[in-house]
């Protein structure tokens, strides 16, 4: 390669590396803000601010859903390490199921209780026909989550 081109190539790649490094540091610094939600472990450990609007995400604990008056519901969410409670009044999304991942958007009123204004269903990366799902349950395997 002729020296002129080699020099230009080095400059271009060097600039790209510098930009990548700068972006990487920036993202590292802003990690807290880029995360869309807190996990129950983070909330229970006190990393989430009380009385502020936050988002929490986790799997709905099977058997924890309780319906109150009208549309109000409470349920527990877990990240398989810690569990916390969500209180919500409104229409739950179609994909809301026990065992399914959700994200609740609301105010943290106690160290482990969120008063949600919005509940979003999180979908996982598994796609399968109903028969396959049925067959897996018949065989007694728990649904793969990761």
């Amino acid at each position: 390669m002729n020296p002129k081109r080699k020099q230009r190539l080095v400059i271009v790649l060097g600039a790209l590396a510098a930009v990548a490094l700068a972006t990487g540091l920036m993202m590292y610094a802003m990690e807290e803000n880029i995360n869309l939600f807190y996990t129950p472990s983070q909330v229970v450990a006190g990393e989430a601010p009380l009385e502020k609007r936050i988002r929490v995400g986790g799997l709905v604990v099977v058997g924890s859903l309780q319906r109150g008056d009208g549309l109000s519901v409470t349920f527990d969410i877990t990240d398989n390490a810690q569990t916390m409670r969500v209180r919500y009044s409104g229409i739950l999304p179609d994909l809301f199921r026990e065992g399914q991942g959700i994200i609740a958007n609301g105010r943290l009123v106690e160290q482990n209780l969120v008063e949600a204004e919005e509940v979003l269903a999180k979908h996982d990366e598994n796609y399968m026909p109903p028969e396959v799902k049925h067959a897996i349950e018949q065989a007694g395997h728990p649904k793969k989550t990761e």
């Binding site: 081109r5 230009r8 190539l9 271009v12 600039a15 790209l16 930009v19 990548a20 972006t23 993202m27 990690e31 880029i34 995360n35 869309l36 939600f37 807190y38 996990t39 995400g57 999304p93 179609d94 994909l95 199921r97 399914q100 994200i103 919005e118 509940v119 979003l120 269903a121 999180k122 979908h123 996982d124 990366e125 598994n126 796609y127 399968m128 026909p129 109903p130 028969e131 396959v132 799902k133 049925h134 793969k144």
Partner: protein, 248 residues
């Protein structure tokens, strides 16, 4: 191997050779796109089984996933062309880079729109500012920025060099989009398919793969057509283009 690549690089670096060769390749690429996309879409939309949780709404992925993959792939290609423009000063790379931007922008837009349409019934919202969705929106803005910069600078060569810098800098966004779902908590789910594995039932996966490959052929067709146009415009004063125009 390396010698072949080098020879092809030099041959396709000539606008005239590029124009002639791609003219011969075009019908085959169109045939490939039609033969992959039509069966893929029909199979995916009509015959693949519904999902156990989402029912039929998951079928939008037969457009969404190929569009997303291409929007990113096209950007990488544009950035690589940008490096060739800056380092080797190849005219053909300038024309290819310029032609990619609007096509890539269209696929990025298609990806965002289909994603929002799917998000409403599945997540319960059209849009959240999570890392995946936001970085994809930035990709669309980068494409638009590249297009605007191309149009703002009169001289084609200066425009190509300026946009090359922008596309190379923007390439940092591509790994961010790809790994956003692993690095941070996002509403968007992680990837279902990778080079080696898939967490999707086979009868859903095959039509998806057909669509993805088909979309790549479609991209090749669109890119070649746009680049050939660009060649005729940029080379309008050369003898071979004049002859070509006179003979038709």
């Amino acid at each position: 191997m390396f010698a072949t690549i080098k020879r092809l690089y030099h041959q396709f670096g000539s606008p005239r050779y590029f124009y002639d060769m791609t003219g011969k390749m075009l019908p085959w690429l169109i045939a490939g796109a039609v033969l992959l996309i039509i069966p893929g879409i029909v199979w995916g939309l009509a015959f693949a089984p519904p999902d156990y949780l989402q029912g039929n709404s998951y079928r939008i992925m037969y457009i969404h996933v190929p569009a997303a993959s291409l929007a990113m792939g096209a950007y990488v290609m544009m950035a690589v062309a940008g490096v060739v423009v800056l380092v080797w000063r190849m005219k053909m790379a300038e024309m290819v880079a310029r032609s990619i931007a609007p096509i890539g922008a269209s696929f990025a837009f298609l990806c965002l729109i289909t994603g929002a349409i799917w998000g409403k019934p599945t997540w319960g919202t059209w849009w959240v500012w999570d890392a995946r969705l936001t970085s994809m929106l930035i990709l669309l803005f980068l494409y638009i920025g590249v297009m605007a910069l191309n149009m703002a600078i009169e001289n084609a060569q200066s425009a190509a060099r300026a946009t090359a810098v922008l596309s190379i800098v923007g390439a940092v966004n591509i790994p961010i989009i790809k790994y956003s779902v692993e690095w941070w908590n996002t509403l968007h789910q992680p990837a279902s398919i990778s080079m080696t594995s898939s967490s999707m039932a086979t009868e859903m996966l095959i039509p998806l793969l057909l669509c993805i490959f088909g979309f790549y052929f479609l991209f090749a067709v669109l890119l070649i057509m746009a680049t050939r146009c660009e060649i005729l415009q940029r080379e309008q004063r050369s003898n071979w283009v004049r002859q070509l125009v006179e003979n038709n």
